[in-house]
């Protein structure tokens, strides 16, 4: 592989990685605050894409406005989901808390996926991208819709990190993720912070779906593979670690793009592109189960 091809693959990997970072960051924020893995994360991504589709293709709203609106809708849905099915865990209303959290989010995923299937049908929908065309840097050519979407994604991630580190709301959310009981003692409204965290996580997944919809088409099961990648990434980065999620996403993006050239048969190479994540996951669990930035705890 020549230097140019190598650079091209790395840049493509970083572009894809920044999309992965959007979904994985949302998952990490939710895990950090609520200590649950949201198994419906891929369906929130799918919901974001359908919101974007309805807003831009059906209602005729310009694409650049469609993305933030889809994210806003998902922010509200996320808060509603937290309040209805997640909060009972912290109010002591369910027995077998761990099993409940995993099964109820998976059931939500089944519900959302099949609702989308019943309403919109199994067909793939084509939606308008935020920006079309190609961008060439020297001899490198990168498709414009991906680059623009990645740019918006990076801006969104920076925005969320700013909110989490520099505003009162964000500090409250981080305090709750560090220690729920102590946060409550110093006067933080834990229930509200949890709701906001779930909202932010959903909004990030929704924004990722809205940005990727034009690139990879929109269909009911579109969230499955991005969600699985997000799971691999948060294990790689360390469950609940925000920087781990971002770095893990970039690593996975680059690994996938570089590894694709290993299999010469192109159709198989494309199919196995999604399989490297599993290999990476097994490797992490064997070598460093706490992930890159995770704390070494025996069990929580």
């Amino acid at each position: 592989m020549g230097l140019l091809a190598f650079t091209e693959q790395v840049i493509n990997g970083l572009v894809i990685g920044s999309f992965y970072a959007l979904t994985a960051l949302g998952l990490a924020i939710i895990f950090g605050v609520l200590r649950i893995v949201n198994f419906a994360h891929g369906e929130l991504y799918m919901l974001g894409a359908y919101c974007y589709y309805v807003l831009t293709s059906v209602l005729g709203i310009p694409p650049l406005l469609g993305v933030p609106l889809a994210a806003l809708l998902l922010f509200i849905s996320g808060m509603a989901i937290e309040a209805s099915i997640v909060r009972p865990i912290y109010e002591g209303k369910v027995e077998r808390v761990d099993e409940y959290a995993i099964m109820i989010t998976f059931a939500l995923a089944i519900f959302l996926q099949n609702a989308a299937l019943a309403i919109f049908g199994p067909w793939t929908l084509r939606v308008d991208a935020v920006f079309a065309g190609r961008v060439s840097i020297g001899e490198l050519i990168i498709s414009g819709d991906r680059l623009a979407a990645a740019g918006i994604g990076v801006l969104l991630i920076m925005g969320v990190l700013y909110v989490l580190h520099r505003t009162w709301v964000g500090k409250a959310v981080r305090a709750v993720s560090q220690d729920r009981a102590t946060a409550a003692v110093v006067g933080i409204d834990v229930a509200r912070a949890s709701m906001i965290a779930f909202g932010i996580g959903s909004a990030l997944a929704g924004a990722a779906g809205a940005l990727m919809g034009p690139v990879f088409l929109v269909y009911p099961t579109m969230g499955l593979i991005p969600a699985i990648k997000a799971y691999v990434i948060i294990v790689l980065g360390g469950l609940g670690s925000l920087w781990g999620a971002i770095l893990g996403a970039l690593i996975l993006g680059v690994v996938e793009n570089l590894a694709t050239v290993l299999i010469p048969d192109t159709t198989r190479a494309l199919a196995y592109k999604d399989a490297y994540g599993l290999g990476l996951l097994i490797l992490i669990l064997l070598i460093r189960p706490q992930g890159l930035f995770g704390e070494r705890t025996r069990r929580s």
Binding site: I102, I104, L112, I228, Y272
Partner: protein, 315 residues
Amino acid sequence: MNMPPETGVRAAAAALVLIFALIPTLGLQEYWIYILTIGFFYAVLASSWSLLVGYVGRISFAHAAMAGLGAYTSAMASTRLGLPLYASIPLAALVVGCVGLFLGRICLKLHGAYLGLTTIAFSEIFRIAVTAEHGFTRGSLGLQAPGFFATNGRAQYYYLFFIFLLCVLGTMWLLLRSRIGLYFAAIREDEDAAASLGVHVVRWKVMAFAISSMIAGLAGAFYAHFVQLVAPSMMSLQEMGLILSMAVIGGFQNIFFAAIGGVFLEVLLELMREIGGWRMTIFGLAVMVVLRYAPNGLVGELIRISYRHVRGWVT
């Protein structure tokens, strides 16, 4: 009525077994015999899934994938290696059990969510790999497998799967009544306390996952030689969602409730054919409601309500 409520439940269970044993002789349409046979297959899957979830407290999303792995192993062993079914089916169970041991070994030392994360990734990527390797597996066209019997009698398969289900339930019940069942319960209630009292927590969690997966693989192998065509769609997460719905709606904290849920939902799925895609939407919603308000499942609730009535009669 002065009988203890347990006797009532046992009598009801015996009656249920008797009814299912007599069904093929009652002149039911062949089509429904076929549906009930598939219902027994799902009953095995739902109850073996609840063995892990309800008794040990860990959740696997690879149960459908394990059934698929078993189905493909047995189908390939019998068609490509020419093994007879009595060799290919145990081989399938063995292969799936080993995969279960490996996955369990790397995930079950960690937080409960890790098994869910790893199994969901395993199941989807395994499905992709089976679809992609069409030279070997015939991809989404499906792989043909030889049948159990020379003639395709519906009643034959019905009784085969019915007896298979009873054997699986009986084996699991004996396992849960043994010392191992107590280890499982101890782990579910408090892992640290169990470990401090000398229970090999990780070992028994891995065993539970491997046994549960192995039963799924066995069921998959049986299924392959019943429908005689295995396709990657049987390993989709949609299928996993159906198994989870069956176990939760029936009652995932009891293997028998989960089995009843399996047959019940399969029949319901057929009765609601007209509404197509909405069926799984409704089941997903029902799972959420049952988990939140009736964690013992519908069968558990039914028994609880009837207990209350019996108690009412006694006093």
